[in-house]
Each structure stands twice: as C-alpha cells, then as structure tokens.
Symmetry: C4
Subunit: 267 residues, 4 copies
C-alpha cells in the first residue's frame, strides 16, 4: 500500500509522470504556494507595513516553509520511482542532484528566521526564498523549447553584445572627451560616461545625466540613433529564431514525401 | 412593410449582413458617434474648459445618448432577423447576450447625468461610456484575425512575462540591497525598487528614481541590457506569429495539388 | 540642336529616363543642393549664429533659389519629352501636376525673403523650403518598394493604432482617477493624463510627470508592460511584411516551372 | 627547426590556420590581453582611483604593450607562411596591410606614455589603444556572416534613416514654432529642437527638455507614436534579413534536385 501511495505521489509531483494535459493538482497548489511565498518575501522588506503585519508574514513564512519541508521529505522518499534513481543509493543521488539542492537551499531561510540571528545576513538569507521560483522552470516543458530556440542563436546574441559593448566604449569615450571638463561628475571619466551611454544605447534614457554642449548633443544624438540598431538586432534575432522554431512544432505528422519536396523551404 | 424596414435596418446595423465592402452608412455614422462620445467624455474631465463649455458637453452627451437609446431599441426590435434569435424568446435572448448588455451598460451614464446624483460615482459612471468603444470590435472582422494569430502564441507570451517577472524580482532585490540604505525612499524595500526596475526593464526610463552608487549603476546597466531582451522577445514572437498568419490570407485559390506538395512550407 | 539639348536635359533630369545605375550627375548635384538648402533653412532659425552669418545664409539661399528657379523653367521647357506631356498643352498640364506645384511652392520663400515683409509669416514661409526635400522621393525608386510593402499592411497598422489608442484611454483614465487629486496639474483630467500615458506606452518615458501613489505606480507599471506590446506589434508587422517583400525582389528570372512548384512557399 | 617554429606560430596566431574548433590557446590569451588592455585604458581616465593605482596601471600598460610588440614582430616574421605573402617582399606587403597597420597604430600609445609628452594629446593617444579591440573582428568568422546579412540590406537601412531624418526635421520644426517662444533655450531654433526630437523619435526620452504647451504636447505625442515606427522599421529589416541569412547556414548538404525545386522559396 505504501508502494501505491509512493507511486501516486510520484505521479502527482513529477510533471513528466503526469499523463493528462497541464499540471497535476498537487503541482498546481505548489506553484501557487511558491508564488505566495515569494510575494511574502518581497513584502517583508517593506518597512511601512507595520509590526503586526510583519509578525503575520513571519508566521505565514514558517507555515509555508513547513509545507516545503514536507514536500522535500516526500520527494526524497519517492525518488526511487524515477528510473534514474531506481538503483541503489538512488535517494542519496537524488538528494545531491541540482533540483534537490535548490529545494534545500530555498528551505533554509524559513527556519533561520525562527532561530533569529545577525540581522543583515538574515535579510540576505530571506531573499534566497526567491530561488524557489526557479523550480517553476521544471514544471514547464514549453519554456524549455523557447530557451532551446534562443540558445541555438547564442552566438548571434554574443556578437550583438560585443558590438553593443564596442559602441558603448566609443560613445563613452567621445562624451568623456567632449563633456568631461564641463560636467566632471557625470562625464569626468570613461567609466562615469558609461552610465550615460548604457542608458542611451538601451533607449532607457533616464535623463539624470545628459550632455549640455552642442557637440556633446550631436554625439549623443548619433549614439541614440545607433542605439536603435542595438535594440533592433536582438529583436530581429529572436524573431528569426522563433520564426524557425515555431514552424515544426505544429506539423508532427507530415508525409515523408511532402517533407522531402519542400524541405529546403521549411526552416 | 414593417418587415421590409426591419430587414433593411438589420442589413444596415449588422456588419455580417452587409454584402458590400466596408461598413454600411448607418454603421459608419455610429462609429463616428461612438468616437465623438468618447472624446466628449474625455474632455468633460478637463476643469479648465469653463462652465458654459461643460453645459454644452452635457447637452451633447444627452443627445448622443438618445441616439444610442434609439439604436438599442431598434436592435432589440430587429433581433429576430438574426438566425440565432429567429426562434421564440429571440429578442429576450438577444437582450441578454453580451453585446446587448454592453450597449445597455454604456447607455446608463448618459441618463444618470440628467438625474444628478453623487458626484464621485457619476464621474466614474461617465467613464463607462468609454466601454462603447468596445463595440467597435464587432465592426471589424480583421482585427479578430490579428488577435487569433497572437492568441495562438499566448503561451510564448506567458513564458516571456514570467521570465520578465523573474528578472524584475532579481533586479529589484539587487538594487534594494545596494541602494536601499542610501535612498530609502526609492529603494528602501523590494516593492519600492520594483518601480525603478519595471521602468528600466521596459526601457521606459522615467529617471525619477535612479541608482547613485557605482555598484548600483553597474547592476542597473546590466538590468537595462537585459531589458532589451525583455522587449525583443515579444517583438520577435509577434513577428513570427504574424509572419505565419499573414501568408495564407493572401492565397485563397491555391491549386490543391500545389497546396499538397508545399504544405509543410506554408505555415 | 535645341531638340538634342532638350532630350539630353530630360535624360539628365528625369530619373526614369536615365539608363545607367544610380542618379545622373545633374540629379546628384540637385539632391546635394536640396540637402544644403534645407540645412541652411534649419540653421537660419538659430539666433546665436550672429548677424553676419545670417546675411551670408540669406545670400546663399537666394543663390540656391536661383538654381531651383532655373531648374523649374528647364523642367517646363523639357516637359514634352515625357510621353504623358507630349500632346498639346503638355507644358501647362505639367505645370499643374503635383511635382511641379511642389517645386513652385518651394521656390516662393527664397524670393519672399528678398522682398522683405511681415516677420512671423516670413519665418513660416522659410520653413516651406523644407518641402523641397519631398522631391527627393521621386529620385528614389526603391523607397517606393518599401512603402508598398508597408502599405499592404496598412490595415494591421490601423488595428494596432486603434488598440494603442484604447490602451492610452484606459491608462489615462486609471491614472486620472488615482493620481488626479494628488497631482492636479499632471493628472487632473484625462487629457492631461494622456501626456503621461503616451510617453509611457511608447516607452519614451520623459519622466517630467510620474505617478507618486503606490496604486498609481502599480497601474503605471502595468501600462509600461503593456506598452512593450504596443511597440512589439508594429515591429512584428514590419518584420513580417518585409520578410515577405524582400524575397521576390531578388529573383526576377525564376523558371516558370520552379515558380509553380514552390509558389505556395514563396510569399 | 626555425621553419617548424614559424609554422607552429602561424598555426597558433592565424585563426584560419587553426584546424580545431574555436581559437588556438595563443589567440585566446591575446583576446584576453586585448580586453584587459582596453579595460585598463578605460580605468586610467577615472581620477578618483588614486596616484598609486594610476602608476600601477601605467606599468601594466607598458608590460602589455611589450607583449603586443613581441606579437607584432612575430607576425611579421611568420608572414610568409600565409600564401598571400609567400612571394618576395611578402613581409613588407604584410606590414603595409590593413591589419598590420592597425596593430602598429595600437602599439604607439603604450610607448608614447613612457616617453612623456603633451598631456592632452597623450590622453587622446591612450584611447587609440581601444582600436586594438577592432582586431577581435578578425578572430571571428561568424560575425562576418552577420555583417554580410545586414550589409545586403544597407539600402533599406538608408531609406529608414532618410525617413527618420525627415520626421526629425518635421517634428523639430513644429515644436520650434509652437514651443520656441515659451522655451527659447530648448526650442528657440530648429537645431535646438532637434535635441528633443532625436531623444523622442529614438524613444530614449531623457526628459531634460519637454514641451509644456497643450499644442506642443499634442505634436510631441504624435512624434512619440511615429517614433515607434522609426524603431520598428530597423527591427523588422534586421528580422527579415537574419530570417533569410540563418536558413542556408544550417543545410549545407541539400540534394541538388531538391535545391532546384524549392530554390525560389529559399532566399
């Protein structure tokens, strides 16, 4: 009977073991709990919410931590259901696998909170709970497909990044030379001018630091125009990568003959 | 004779019943009236326009409301022309359909205005008129096609949104840790830092809140660079989705043979 | 002999009559002169350049105006070389054609400047010279191809624009309700809030006007996220339209057979 | 034996001569050294780092310069290994080739620094070291492919740039007319208004200069909306160009027959 419970729990907890579409009820509840836990960790940093609210948040975090602790224990217990961990030392090997270690790491802060401790470190530690959200990744089969499409273009992204870096260097150098003497705080060195150039090339444009001389504005305008290219390149690469990746996923049952004829046109 | 009038009105009011290209004259007038009504509702909120102008706006809104009331009554009268509402209780079933309820909801504020009432609620209620614009949607067959192309990619958009959310969380946490003590008002908690991180990741970059420490600026620069990815992803998904959706709409008369051969290349 | 001169001038001035690649030497000189004339008109508005400089600009504009006047006269003289204006009243019909009228309109300010006159009107009139740049359009055959590709998608752009307009209305209304009482100057009416919402939806983000209440910032953040969609849509439509348009232009000599086989895959 | 050393050095230094994937160990070290040298040149401009740090940077730059000098000499020695420089005067012809001259130019500042000299020129000269990064380009075969794809679309980019220039002119002129009298510093001439219009059309939106009159804001809003098109166009062109360029690189072994049939669909 423990066997059947273990098998059912495995089916509920392991997305790949779930036959029907979407997530199992248990996994759906866990996702909701992870999101709630992260939202609480975010709210805990807000000082204006009052002491009573913070006590409530602390209690909620401990309760949620208890559920995740239970889940962690259950996952170790059911590990041998997974063919990879079916052999001996399976549970130990599972406990040392990357997903299990992330789970353990994300469990820590909930209980450090109870025991008290050095304030600053605890504040850091609490934020580790946000790592829990990384576990959402394993629930999603399709995001992996998207990541694969982008990863296949990682070289094009690297070239774009390098190109953007050279442009940032060039823009920072020009503005340092032109605006450096007039605005030493903002453009008095190339590293300082980089704060401006990155805000301009990404078209964020905070405006806390802007050139004031005519020549500085001419170079800044040219940088802004070139910045369009810097944001157009990744958009274009993503579009081309997804345009390719989206097509085959829709036609899993093409006749071999047709596939042969039109193959060059396909991808 | 009433029958012929009803049939003609149905042809004029129901876009699908209009055989010729574009909208019927009556529908074109209604679209213009909806746009005028929304523009008036927007102008009504501007206090600097003067009392006489506001009285004029009020009168105009009542007149436009009268036209929409007449249209509402006519639409109920002609409902049985629609095959879906031709059977018994057709008019009642039409009156309870979603488009008819939106019409009714959008009618309400025009007449609440006449009767007077609590000022704040009325101000809210007047804005409901803007819902009228939602009716424009039913005039347009083609926007549905665009929406369908994007809806087919809703999963990719959701993954991008989730990815953007994780990035926002990460950027907010880093800036909270680095800039929190120096600028408690802007970065004193993760929720506060989110205002900055969302403005940066979307490349809006208001600049009302910016990091001032060197380390904060390094993280902010990295966030801005990553933000390019956040805006490149949806642009790429839209491009891939539309690239696919636009193709078939142009070739409705492809020979079956050719269609068969090149089918895998098409979508 | 006048005949041969007329024929040669027509070949030099009419881009379509020029057999070799690119622009004829005369047209290349005219394009340079138009650009110089526009640059001078722009510089003329700058008060800090000094009286002597402005006198020099004035003289230069009159000289350039003389060249354009000569070109205008020559174009009328050679009009009958064009098959469209070869019949009787050809020169008159050419003089009343749209390109000739634009030329005439762009000639006016250069000579109004000489005669003196009311200062404000002259300032306006001088700017008409910028219209000359519109003539560059007729030199370029290829930009027409780009415009055609985008014009074929004008409906998709219109839907995007309407969608963006509804979003702007919604964002302005929300911010007006939430921030209107606290910042009456910036959000005290829907038209005022539109200044903020258009800067946010287009991701320009000036930052001269930003929400200060937590709820206002939540809505503003949502608007910024939605704004990504507003800029992703046109980028995606352009990408899809050009992706289609770029292909056929490269293969003007495809064998009919091959064209037939792969036709469905092509556009 | 010198022959074998020369051959081995050529294999290590010339990326095309390296048979295995990626870069040779020597080239990998050189890339790291170039990046370090550029980073040091950037840090040298920061005055807050202290005199001791700057002395250290100076020493590091001379050491790195020594390595690059050695590399320059070695490259001249091994030049005849390259078939292009195998004939007589090969070393001289290599020394006069573009890559060798860039190397020489980038070597200069390291040793000018040692000899002392006029401060301002030296500051400029040091920045020439950044040119060294241009040599990274020759290590990368694939970036050339990306550049080729974009260069094939240079005409479309030029049309977009011209279109953006006309829009900038139009927006600057309108804002000059409307806001010029109220804000003479920011909009008192068309060149001044261009600083605002370029920040708006590129969606950078610094916000240091914004219109304040209602009419000025209406025109500015329209400019921001049009600016979306200005950034959507290059993104779309890049997407279409890469969408095309990415395809053939994956299928180098298509059967001639299939290639013939579907050729029109390919590019």
């Amino acid at each position: 009977m423990a066997r059947r419970l273990r098998s059912e729990l495995y089916r509920q907890l392991e997305p790949q073991a779930w036959r029907r579409a979407g997530l199992s009820p248990v996994n759906r509840a866990l996702v909701a709990l992870i999101l709630a836990s992260v939202a609480l960790a975010v709210l805990e940093t807000e000082p204006s919410l009052g002491a009573a609210f913070h006590r409530g948040l602390g209690v909620a975090q401990v309760l949620i931590g208890g559920v995740f602790l239970a889940e962690y224990v259950v996952r170790i217990w059911i590990a041998p259901e997974d063919p990879r961990y079916a052999e001996r030392f399976g549970r130990l090997r599972y406990a040392l696998s990357w997903p299990a270690l992330v789970d353990l790491l994300a469990l820590a802060p909930a209980f450090l909170l109870v025991g008290g401790g050095e304030a600053y470190l605890l504040r850091m530690a609490r934020l580790l709970r946000i790592l829990r959200i990384a576990r959402l990744g394993r629930f999603s089969r399709a995001s992996a497909r998207l990541i694969a499409a982008l990863a296949a273009r990682r070289f094009e992204f690297a070239v774009t990044l390098a190109f953007g870096g050279v442009l940032m260097l060039l823009a920072s150098t020009l503005l340092y030379l032109v605006e450096g003497s007039g605005q030493p705080e903002a453009f008095g060195s190339i590293p300082r001018a980089m704060w401006w150039s990155i805000a301009t090339l990404t078209t964020v444009g905070y405006g806390d630091v802007t050139p004031i001389t005519p020549l500085g504005r001419v170079f800044a305008g040219a940088t802004a125009v070139v910045g369009i290219g810097v944001i157009a390149m990744p958009a274009g690469i993503v579009a081309a990568a997804l345009g390719e990746a989206m097509r085959p996923e829709r036609r899993p049952t093409v006749r071999p003959q047709a596939r042969e004829d039109a193959a060059p046109a396909r991808n």
